[in-house]
Symmetry: C2
Subunit: 257 residues, 2 copies
Protein backbone atom coordinates (compact mmCIF):
# COMPACT_ATOMS: atom_id res chain seq x y z
CA UNK A 1 0.00 0.00 0.00
CA UNK A 2 1.28 3.47 -0.77
CA UNK A 3 1.48 6.06 1.98
CA UNK A 4 -1.24 8.71 2.56
CA UNK A 5 -1.12 11.46 5.18
CA UNK A 6 -4.38 12.89 6.50
CA UNK A 7 -3.86 15.92 8.68
CA UNK A 8 -6.54 17.64 10.73
CA UNK A 9 -5.71 21.03 12.23
CA UNK A 10 -7.41 22.36 15.34
CA UNK A 11 -9.22 25.66 15.72
CA UNK A 12 -6.43 26.92 18.00
CA UNK A 13 -4.09 26.83 15.00
CA UNK A 14 -6.58 28.46 12.64
CA UNK A 15 -7.15 31.27 15.14
CA UNK A 16 -3.42 32.13 15.29
CA UNK A 17 -2.21 33.55 11.97
CA UNK A 18 1.51 33.01 12.65
CA UNK A 19 0.93 29.49 13.87
CA UNK A 20 -1.24 28.69 10.82
CA UNK A 21 1.43 30.01 8.45
CA UNK A 22 4.10 27.88 10.18
CA UNK A 23 1.87 24.81 10.00
CA UNK A 24 1.01 25.35 6.32
CA UNK A 25 4.71 25.68 5.52
CA UNK A 26 5.45 22.30 7.09
CA UNK A 27 2.33 20.72 5.55
CA UNK A 28 3.37 21.94 2.08
CA UNK A 29 6.88 20.50 2.54
CA UNK A 30 5.57 17.18 3.93
CA UNK A 31 6.74 14.08 2.01
CA UNK A 32 5.37 11.86 0.52
CA UNK A 33 3.06 13.86 -1.69
CA UNK A 34 -0.34 12.17 -1.24
CA UNK A 35 -1.97 14.12 1.56
CA UNK A 36 -5.28 15.55 2.69
CA UNK A 37 -5.91 18.48 5.03
CA UNK A 38 -9.06 18.77 7.17
CA UNK A 39 -10.11 21.91 9.07
CA UNK A 40 -13.00 23.54 10.91
CA UNK A 41 -13.35 27.23 11.61
CA UNK A 42 -11.89 28.13 15.00
CA UNK A 43 -13.47 31.02 16.89
CA UNK A 44 -14.48 32.93 13.76
CA UNK A 45 -18.07 31.62 13.61
CA UNK A 46 -18.74 32.75 17.20
CA UNK A 47 -17.10 36.13 16.54
CA UNK A 48 -19.21 36.69 13.46
CA UNK A 49 -22.36 35.49 15.25
CA UNK A 50 -21.72 38.04 17.98
CA UNK A 51 -21.20 40.88 15.50
CA UNK A 52 -24.42 39.96 13.70
CA UNK A 53 -26.40 39.49 16.92
CA UNK A 54 -27.00 35.78 16.27
CA UNK A 55 -27.11 33.91 19.60
CA UNK A 56 -24.36 31.31 20.13
CA UNK A 57 -25.90 28.23 21.76
CA UNK A 58 -23.69 25.39 22.97
CA UNK A 59 -24.74 22.02 24.41
CA UNK A 60 -21.92 20.09 26.12
CA UNK A 61 -19.34 22.03 24.11
CA UNK A 62 -21.13 21.40 20.81
CA UNK A 63 -22.59 24.17 18.75
CA UNK A 64 -26.32 24.24 18.20
CA UNK A 65 -26.69 25.02 14.51
CA UNK A 66 -29.89 26.87 13.63
CA UNK A 67 -30.46 28.19 10.11
CA UNK A 68 -28.63 31.49 10.70
CA UNK A 69 -25.69 29.69 12.32
CA UNK A 70 -25.53 27.18 9.45
CA UNK A 71 -25.11 30.11 7.04
CA UNK A 72 -22.24 31.37 9.19
CA UNK A 73 -20.53 27.95 9.09
CA UNK A 74 -20.89 27.84 5.29
CA UNK A 75 -19.37 31.31 5.06
CA UNK A 76 -16.53 30.76 7.52
CA UNK A 77 -15.53 27.12 6.92
CA UNK A 78 -15.95 26.83 3.14
CA UNK A 79 -15.38 30.51 2.34
CA UNK A 80 -13.08 32.52 4.57
CA UNK A 81 -10.96 29.75 6.13
CA UNK A 82 -10.85 27.28 3.23
CA UNK A 83 -9.99 29.85 0.57
CA UNK A 84 -7.44 31.63 2.75
CA UNK A 85 -5.71 28.26 3.26
CA UNK A 86 -5.97 27.36 -0.44
CA UNK A 87 -4.42 30.68 -1.47
CA UNK A 88 -1.53 30.25 0.98
CA UNK A 89 -0.91 26.63 -0.09
CA UNK A 90 -0.92 27.61 -3.78
CA UNK A 91 1.76 30.20 -3.04
CA UNK A 92 3.77 27.35 -1.40
CA UNK A 93 3.44 25.31 -4.62
CA UNK A 94 1.09 22.84 -2.95
CA UNK A 95 -1.63 21.90 -5.46
CA UNK A 96 -4.52 22.37 -3.05
CA UNK A 97 -8.19 21.88 -3.99
CA UNK A 98 -10.80 22.92 -1.43
CA UNK A 99 -13.76 20.65 -0.83
CA UNK A 100 -16.72 20.41 1.47
CA UNK A 101 -18.27 16.99 1.96
CA UNK A 102 -20.87 17.99 -0.64
CA UNK A 103 -18.33 18.59 -3.42
CA UNK A 104 -18.03 15.62 -5.74
CA UNK A 105 -20.42 13.78 -3.42
CA UNK A 106 -17.44 13.13 -1.13
CA UNK A 107 -19.39 12.68 2.12
CA UNK A 108 -23.04 11.80 2.58
CA UNK A 109 -24.49 12.68 5.97
CA UNK A 110 -27.80 12.65 7.78
CA UNK A 111 -29.24 15.39 9.97
CA UNK A 112 -28.74 14.30 13.58
CA UNK A 113 -32.07 13.02 14.92
CA UNK A 114 -33.65 15.05 17.71
CA UNK A 115 -33.41 13.16 21.02
CA UNK A 116 -32.84 14.94 24.34
CA UNK A 117 -31.36 17.84 22.35
CA UNK A 118 -32.01 19.27 18.92
CA UNK A 119 -28.60 20.18 17.52
CA UNK A 120 -30.19 21.66 14.40
CA UNK A 121 -28.35 21.44 11.09
CA UNK A 122 -25.65 19.07 12.31
CA UNK A 123 -24.64 16.09 10.20
CA UNK A 124 -23.70 12.55 11.19
CA UNK A 125 -21.64 10.84 8.49
CA UNK A 126 -23.32 8.01 6.62
CA UNK A 127 -20.83 7.26 3.85
CA UNK A 128 -17.56 8.39 2.27
CA UNK A 129 -17.28 8.23 -1.52
CA UNK A 130 -13.61 7.64 -2.37
CA UNK A 131 -13.91 8.62 -6.05
CA UNK A 132 -13.19 12.33 -5.82
CA UNK A 133 -10.32 11.72 -3.36
CA UNK A 134 -8.74 9.07 -5.60
CA UNK A 135 -9.11 11.26 -8.68
CA UNK A 136 -7.43 14.25 -7.05
CA UNK A 137 -4.72 12.26 -5.22
CA UNK A 138 -3.84 10.30 -8.38
CA UNK A 139 -3.15 13.61 -10.13
CA UNK A 140 -1.07 14.99 -7.25
CA UNK A 141 -3.73 17.41 -6.04
CA UNK A 142 -4.14 17.94 -2.30
CA UNK A 143 -7.78 17.88 -1.09
CA UNK A 144 -8.47 20.42 1.67
CA UNK A 145 -11.70 19.47 3.41
CA UNK A 146 -13.80 21.82 5.51
CA UNK A 147 -16.21 20.67 8.21
CA UNK A 148 -19.40 20.59 6.14
CA UNK A 149 -21.43 17.78 4.58
CA UNK A 150 -24.83 17.45 2.94
CA UNK A 151 -27.71 15.02 3.17
CA UNK A 152 -29.62 13.33 0.36
CA UNK A 153 -31.93 16.33 -0.06
CA UNK A 154 -28.93 18.62 -0.65
CA UNK A 155 -29.24 20.25 2.78
CA UNK A 156 -25.82 21.37 3.96
CA UNK A 157 -24.90 20.28 7.50
CA UNK A 158 -22.30 21.40 10.04
CA UNK A 159 -20.12 18.37 10.79
CA UNK A 160 -17.30 17.89 13.27
CA UNK A 161 -13.88 18.14 11.58
CA UNK A 162 -12.26 15.50 13.84
CA UNK A 163 -15.01 13.06 12.80
CA UNK A 164 -14.60 13.91 9.10
CA UNK A 165 -10.85 13.25 9.30
CA UNK A 166 -11.43 9.90 11.06
CA UNK A 167 -14.07 8.72 8.55
CA UNK A 168 -11.98 9.72 5.52
CA UNK A 169 -8.97 7.88 6.99
CA UNK A 170 -11.08 4.76 7.58
CA UNK A 171 -12.46 4.83 4.02
CA UNK A 172 -9.03 5.36 2.43
CA UNK A 173 -7.14 2.93 4.70
CA UNK A 174 -8.27 0.04 2.50
CA UNK A 175 -6.31 1.43 -0.45
CA UNK A 176 -3.55 3.34 1.37
CA UNK A 177 -1.29 2.96 4.37
CA UNK A 178 -2.80 5.94 6.20
CA UNK A 179 -1.19 8.20 8.77
CA UNK A 180 -3.83 10.31 10.51
CA UNK A 181 -2.52 13.38 12.36
CA UNK A 182 -4.57 15.51 14.75
CA UNK A 183 -2.46 18.67 15.00
CA UNK A 184 -3.02 21.33 17.67
CA UNK A 185 -0.98 23.74 19.79
CA UNK A 186 -0.52 21.30 22.67
CA UNK A 187 2.30 18.86 21.96
CA UNK A 188 0.13 15.74 22.37
CA UNK A 189 -1.95 13.98 25.02
CA UNK A 190 -0.68 15.02 28.44
CA UNK A 191 -1.01 12.91 31.59
CA UNK A 192 -1.48 16.15 33.55
CA UNK A 193 -3.04 19.00 31.59
CA UNK A 194 -0.88 21.69 33.21
CA UNK A 195 2.43 19.79 32.83
CA UNK A 196 3.91 19.93 29.33
CA UNK A 197 6.53 17.34 30.40
CA UNK A 198 3.82 14.72 30.99
CA UNK A 199 3.37 13.91 27.28
CA UNK A 200 2.21 10.32 26.75
CA UNK A 201 4.31 8.92 23.87
CA UNK A 202 2.11 5.84 23.29
CA UNK A 203 -1.54 5.76 24.35
CA UNK A 204 -3.52 2.53 24.67
CA UNK A 205 -7.32 2.49 24.66
CA UNK A 206 -7.41 1.21 28.26
CA UNK A 207 -5.13 3.99 29.42
CA UNK A 208 -7.35 6.50 27.60
CA UNK A 209 -10.39 5.17 29.50
CA UNK A 210 -8.48 5.51 32.79
CA UNK A 211 -7.41 9.07 32.01
CA UNK A 212 -11.00 9.94 31.18
CA UNK A 213 -12.27 8.37 34.43
CA UNK A 214 -9.64 10.24 36.47
CA UNK A 215 -10.64 13.43 34.67
CA UNK A 216 -6.99 13.88 33.67
CA UNK A 217 -8.24 14.74 30.20
CA UNK A 218 -11.38 16.69 29.43
CA UNK A 219 -13.01 19.13 27.06
CA UNK A 220 -12.27 18.91 23.35
CA UNK A 221 -9.63 16.21 23.87
CA UNK A 222 -12.30 13.59 24.62
CA UNK A 223 -14.27 13.74 21.34
CA UNK A 224 -10.91 14.04 19.51
CA UNK A 225 -9.62 10.83 21.11
CA UNK A 226 -12.99 9.11 20.61
CA UNK A 227 -12.68 9.87 16.90
CA UNK A 228 -9.02 8.85 16.83
CA UNK A 229 -9.68 5.49 18.56
CA UNK A 230 -12.70 4.91 16.29
CA UNK A 231 -10.32 5.25 13.31
CA UNK A 232 -7.76 2.98 15.00
CA UNK A 233 -10.33 0.26 15.61
CA UNK A 234 -11.58 0.52 12.03
CA UNK A 235 -8.10 -0.20 10.71
CA UNK A 236 -6.37 3.16 10.21
CA UNK A 237 -2.73 2.21 10.36
CA UNK A 238 -1.01 5.14 12.15
CA UNK A 239 -2.61 7.79 14.32
CA UNK A 240 -0.89 10.73 16.00
CA UNK A 241 -2.14 13.44 18.35
CA UNK A 242 0.54 16.07 18.05
CA UNK A 243 1.55 19.70 18.40
CA UNK A 244 2.28 21.84 15.34
CA UNK A 245 5.88 22.31 16.49
CA UNK A 246 6.36 18.55 16.82
CA UNK A 247 4.68 18.12 13.43
CA UNK A 248 7.08 20.64 11.92
CA UNK A 249 10.16 18.86 13.31
CA UNK A 250 8.91 15.40 12.32
CA UNK A 251 8.27 14.24 15.91
CA UNK A 252 5.13 12.27 16.55
CA UNK A 253 3.62 13.58 19.81
CA UNK A 254 1.26 10.91 21.11
CA UNK A 255 0.96 7.73 19.04
CA UNK A 256 -2.19 5.62 19.44
CA UNK A 257 -1.35 2.03 20.30
Amino acid sequence: LSQLNIVKIGGDIIDDQECLDQFLGSFARMIPAPKILVHGGGKKVSELAEKLGIPVQMIDGRRLTDKATLELTLMVYAGLINKTIIGKLQALHCRAVGLSGADGGAILAKKRPVSTHDYGFVGDIEAINNNIFNLLLDSNYVPVLCALTNDETGQMLNTNADTIAAHIAVALSRAFNCSLYYVMKLSGVLRRFDDPDSLIPILTYDEYLNLKENESISGGMIPKLDNAFYARKKGVQNIFITGYEHFQSGQKGTVLA
Copy 2:
Protein backbone atom coordinates in the same frame (compact mmCIF):
# COMPACT_ATOMS: atom_id res chain seq x y z
CA LEU B 1 -14.28 18.77 -30.90
CA SER B 2 -16.68 17.60 -28.22
CA GLN B 3 -19.26 19.99 -26.86
CA LEU B 4 -18.78 21.96 -23.59
CA ASN B 5 -21.36 24.26 -22.01
CA ILE B 6 -20.16 27.10 -19.79
CA VAL B 7 -23.01 28.85 -18.01
CA LYS B 8 -22.68 32.03 -15.98
CA ILE B 9 -25.66 33.04 -13.82
CA GLY B 10 -26.36 36.61 -12.84
CA GLY B 11 -26.80 37.98 -9.35
CA ASP B 12 -30.50 38.59 -10.07
CA ILE B 13 -30.97 34.81 -10.27
CA ILE B 14 -28.91 34.10 -7.16
CA ASP B 15 -30.94 36.65 -5.20
CA ASP B 16 -34.26 34.94 -6.05
CA GLN B 17 -34.50 31.51 -4.39
CA GLU B 18 -37.32 30.21 -6.63
CA CYS B 19 -35.61 31.42 -9.76
CA LEU B 20 -32.29 29.85 -8.68
CA ASP B 21 -34.00 26.51 -7.99
CA GLN B 22 -35.65 26.57 -11.42
CA PHE B 23 -32.35 27.43 -13.09
CA LEU B 24 -30.42 24.71 -11.23
CA GLY B 25 -33.05 22.16 -12.27
CA SER B 26 -32.57 23.02 -15.93
CA PHE B 27 -28.78 23.20 -15.55
CA ALA B 28 -28.71 19.73 -13.95
CA ARG B 29 -30.82 18.29 -16.81
CA MET B 30 -28.77 20.02 -19.50
CA ILE B 31 -27.29 17.67 -22.09
CA PRO B 32 -24.52 16.96 -23.00
CA ALA B 33 -22.86 16.34 -19.68
CA PRO B 34 -19.62 18.35 -19.89
CA LYS B 35 -20.54 21.66 -18.35
CA ILE B 36 -19.23 24.37 -16.04
CA LEU B 37 -21.21 26.81 -13.91
CA VAL B 38 -19.87 30.26 -12.93
CA HIS B 39 -21.43 32.55 -10.33
CA GLY B 40 -20.85 35.65 -8.23
CA GLY B 41 -22.75 36.57 -5.09
CA GLY B 42 -25.72 38.81 -5.89
CA LYS B 43 -26.75 41.35 -3.28
CA LYS B 44 -25.65 39.24 -0.32
CA VAL B 45 -22.21 40.87 0.09
CA SER B 46 -23.76 44.34 0.32
CA GLU B 47 -26.44 43.08 2.74
CA LEU B 48 -23.84 41.50 4.98
CA ALA B 49 -21.60 44.58 4.75
CA GLU B 50 -24.49 46.74 5.91
CA LYS B 51 -25.29 44.45 8.86
CA LEU B 52 -21.63 44.47 9.90
CA GLY B 53 -21.24 48.22 9.41
CA ILE B 54 -18.65 47.82 6.64
CA PRO B 55 -19.02 50.67 4.13
CA VAL B 56 -20.03 49.65 0.59
CA GLN B 57 -18.01 51.71 -1.88
CA MET B 58 -18.78 51.53 -5.60
CA ILE B 59 -16.88 53.17 -8.48
CA ASP B 60 -18.79 53.13 -11.81
CA GLY B 61 -20.86 50.17 -10.64
CA ARG B 62 -17.80 48.22 -9.51
CA ARG B 63 -17.22 47.29 -5.92
CA LEU B 64 -14.19 48.68 -4.14
CA THR B 65 -12.76 45.71 -2.24
CA ASP B 66 -10.90 46.66 0.92
CA LYS B 67 -9.65 43.94 3.31
CA ALA B 68 -12.93 43.66 5.22
CA THR B 69 -14.93 43.50 1.97
CA LEU B 70 -12.58 40.84 0.56
CA GLU B 71 -13.37 38.66 3.60
CA LEU B 72 -17.08 39.12 2.86
CA THR B 73 -16.61 38.04 -0.76
CA LEU B 74 -14.69 34.93 0.37
CA MET B 75 -17.49 34.11 2.79
CA VAL B 76 -20.39 34.78 0.45
CA TYR B 77 -19.07 33.62 -2.94
CA ALA B 78 -17.02 30.55 -1.95
CA GLY B 79 -18.97 29.71 1.21
CA LEU B 80 -22.65 30.57 1.34
CA ILE B 81 -23.51 30.72 -2.36
CA ASN B 82 -21.13 28.08 -3.73
CA LYS B 83 -21.97 25.45 -1.11
CA THR B 84 -25.71 26.12 -1.27
CA ILE B 85 -25.53 25.56 -5.04
CA ILE B 86 -23.32 22.46 -4.66
CA GLY B 87 -25.75 20.90 -2.16
CA LYS B 88 -28.73 21.56 -4.43
CA LEU B 89 -26.94 20.18 -7.50
CA GLN B 90 -25.86 17.04 -5.62
CA ALA B 91 -29.52 16.43 -4.72
CA LEU B 92 -30.30 16.72 -8.47
CA HIS B 93 -27.65 14.03 -9.19
CA CYS B 94 -25.34 16.58 -10.81
CA ARG B 95 -21.76 15.73 -9.78
CA ALA B 96 -20.82 19.28 -8.85
CA VAL B 97 -17.42 20.29 -7.47
CA GLY B 98 -17.04 23.86 -6.19
CA LEU B 99 -13.91 25.78 -7.09
CA SER B 100 -12.50 29.25 -6.70
CA GLY B 101 -9.83 30.33 -9.14
CA ALA B 102 -7.26 29.42 -6.47
CA ASP B 103 -8.33 25.76 -6.22
CA GLY B 104 -6.09 23.51 -8.25
CA GLY B 105 -4.33 26.65 -9.50
CA ALA B 106 -7.23 27.11 -11.95
CA ILE B 107 -6.87 30.85 -12.46
CA LEU B 108 -3.87 33.06 -11.82
CA ALA B 109 -4.65 36.75 -11.40
CA LYS B 110 -2.88 39.99 -10.56
CA LYS B 111 -4.08 42.69 -8.21
CA ARG B 112 -5.43 45.51 -10.38
CA PRO B 113 -2.85 48.32 -10.48
CA VAL B 114 -3.84 51.61 -8.88
CA SER B 115 -4.50 54.26 -11.55
CA THR B 116 -7.20 56.93 -11.18
CA HIS B 117 -8.92 54.57 -8.73
CA ASP B 118 -7.70 51.99 -6.23
CA TYR B 119 -10.14 49.09 -6.49
CA GLY B 120 -8.37 47.27 -3.65
CA PHE B 121 -8.27 43.47 -3.68
CA VAL B 122 -9.62 43.07 -7.20
CA GLY B 123 -8.00 40.63 -9.60
CA ASP B 124 -7.35 40.85 -13.32
CA ILE B 125 -6.92 37.43 -14.90
CA GLU B 126 -3.43 36.55 -16.11
CA ALA B 127 -3.79 32.87 -17.02
CA ILE B 128 -6.16 29.91 -16.97
CA ASN B 129 -4.70 26.49 -16.15
CA ASN B 130 -6.83 23.88 -17.95
CA ASN B 131 -5.55 20.89 -15.93
CA ILE B 132 -8.06 20.87 -13.09
CA PHE B 133 -10.94 21.53 -15.51
CA ASN B 134 -9.88 18.70 -17.83
CA LEU B 135 -9.41 16.29 -14.92
CA LEU B 136 -12.88 16.97 -13.50
CA LEU B 137 -14.69 17.12 -16.87
CA ASP B 138 -13.05 13.87 -18.05
CA SER B 139 -14.50 12.12 -14.99
CA ASN B 140 -17.96 13.64 -15.47
CA TYR B 141 -17.68 16.11 -12.61
CA VAL B 142 -19.20 19.57 -13.05
CA PRO B 143 -16.94 22.44 -11.91
CA VAL B 144 -18.85 25.27 -10.22
CA LEU B 145 -16.65 28.36 -10.16
CA CYS B 146 -17.12 31.32 -7.86
CA ALA B 147 -15.86 34.81 -8.59
CA LEU B 148 -12.53 34.65 -6.75
CA THR B 149 -8.94 34.20 -7.88
CA ASN B 150 -5.51 34.49 -6.29
CA ASP B 151 -2.20 36.05 -7.25
CA GLU B 152 1.27 34.52 -7.13
CA THR B 153 1.69 35.43 -3.46
CA GLY B 154 -1.47 33.51 -2.55
CA GLN B 155 -3.49 36.68 -1.98
CA MET B 156 -7.16 36.01 -2.77
CA LEU B 157 -8.78 38.57 -5.10
CA ASN B 158 -12.37 39.49 -5.93
CA THR B 159 -12.82 38.93 -9.68
CA ASN B 160 -15.75 39.63 -11.98
CA ALA B 161 -17.75 36.47 -12.71
CA ASP B 162 -18.59 37.50 -16.30
CA THR B 163 -14.87 37.90 -16.95
CA ILE B 164 -14.03 34.53 -15.35
CA ALA B 165 -16.62 32.79 -17.55
CA ALA B 166 -15.24 34.47 -20.69
CA HIS B 167 -11.61 33.59 -19.90
CA ILE B 168 -12.41 29.96 -19.07
CA ALA B 169 -14.37 29.66 -22.31
CA VAL B 170 -11.47 31.10 -24.30
CA ALA B 171 -8.97 28.72 -22.66
CA LEU B 172 -11.15 25.64 -23.18
CA SER B 173 -12.32 26.56 -26.71
CA ARG B 174 -9.08 25.11 -28.10
CA ALA B 175 -10.04 21.62 -26.91
CA PHE B 176 -13.84 21.89 -26.92
CA ASN B 177 -16.61 23.32 -29.06
CA CYS B 178 -17.74 25.78 -26.38
CA SER B 179 -21.16 27.29 -25.82
CA LEU B 180 -20.95 30.19 -23.38
CA TYR B 181 -24.26 31.25 -21.79
CA TYR B 182 -24.80 34.43 -19.78
CA VAL B 183 -28.08 33.70 -18.00
CA MET B 184 -30.13 36.40 -16.22
CA LYS B 185 -33.77 37.29 -15.59
CA LEU B 186 -34.09 39.45 -18.70
CA SER B 187 -34.71 37.32 -21.79
CA GLY B 188 -31.66 38.66 -23.68
CA VAL B 189 -30.31 41.94 -25.07
CA LEU B 190 -33.23 44.31 -25.69
CA ARG B 191 -33.23 47.12 -28.26
CA ARG B 192 -35.33 49.16 -25.81
CA PHE B 193 -34.78 48.33 -22.14
CA ASP B 194 -38.47 48.76 -21.20
CA ASP B 195 -39.85 46.71 -24.11
CA PRO B 196 -39.56 42.93 -23.63
CA ASP B 197 -40.67 42.43 -27.26
CA SER B 198 -37.56 44.21 -28.54
CA LEU B 199 -35.26 41.20 -28.02
CA ILE B 200 -32.34 41.19 -30.46
CA PRO B 201 -32.01 37.61 -31.74
CA ILE B 202 -28.57 38.09 -33.31
CA LEU B 203 -26.21 40.83 -32.17
CA THR B 204 -23.22 41.98 -34.21
CA TYR B 205 -20.34 43.90 -32.65
CA ASP B 206 -21.13 46.98 -34.74
CA GLU B 207 -24.75 46.96 -33.61
CA TYR B 208 -23.54 46.62 -30.02
CA LEU B 209 -21.37 49.72 -30.42
CA ASN B 210 -24.37 51.60 -31.86
CA LEU B 211 -26.65 50.52 -29.01
CA LYS B 212 -24.02 51.66 -26.53
CA GLU B 213 -23.64 55.02 -28.26
CA ASN B 214 -27.45 55.53 -28.33
CA GLU B 215 -27.53 54.61 -24.63
CA SER B 216 -30.10 51.91 -25.49
CA ILE B 217 -28.13 49.60 -23.24
CA SER B 218 -26.40 50.59 -20.04
CA GLY B 219 -25.40 49.46 -16.58
CA GLY B 220 -24.30 45.88 -16.05
CA MET B 221 -25.14 44.89 -19.64
CA ILE B 222 -22.13 46.79 -20.99
CA PRO B 223 -19.35 44.95 -19.10
CA LYS B 224 -21.26 41.70 -19.73
CA LEU B 225 -21.29 42.30 -23.49
CA ASP B 226 -17.68 43.49 -23.43
CA ASN B 227 -16.73 40.15 -21.84
CA ALA B 228 -18.95 38.22 -24.24
CA PHE B 229 -17.50 39.90 -27.35
CA TYR B 230 -13.97 39.45 -25.95
CA ALA B 231 -14.68 35.69 -25.80
CA ARG B 232 -16.20 35.79 -29.31
CA LYS B 233 -13.12 37.51 -30.76
CA LYS B 234 -10.82 35.04 -28.99
CA GLY B 235 -12.53 32.13 -30.74
CA VAL B 236 -15.32 30.95 -28.40
CA GLN B 237 -17.66 29.19 -30.79
CA ASN B 238 -21.18 29.99 -29.49
CA ILE B 239 -22.22 32.79 -27.14
CA PHE B 240 -25.71 33.48 -25.80
CA ILE B 241 -27.10 36.24 -23.59
CA THR B 242 -30.33 34.74 -22.37
CA GLY B 243 -33.07 34.65 -19.72
CA TYR B 244 -33.41 31.72 -17.34
CA GLU B 245 -36.86 30.92 -18.77
CA HIS B 246 -35.47 30.83 -22.30
CA PHE B 247 -32.56 28.73 -21.02
CA GLN B 248 -35.00 26.31 -19.43
CA SER B 249 -37.00 25.88 -22.64
CA GLY B 250 -33.91 25.55 -24.84
CA GLN B 251 -34.35 28.92 -26.58
CA LYS B 252 -31.25 30.98 -27.14
CA GLY B 253 -32.15 34.61 -26.30
CA THR B 254 -29.56 36.82 -27.98
CA VAL B 255 -26.86 35.07 -30.02
CA LEU B 256 -23.59 36.91 -30.62
CA ALA B 257 -22.79 37.09 -34.33
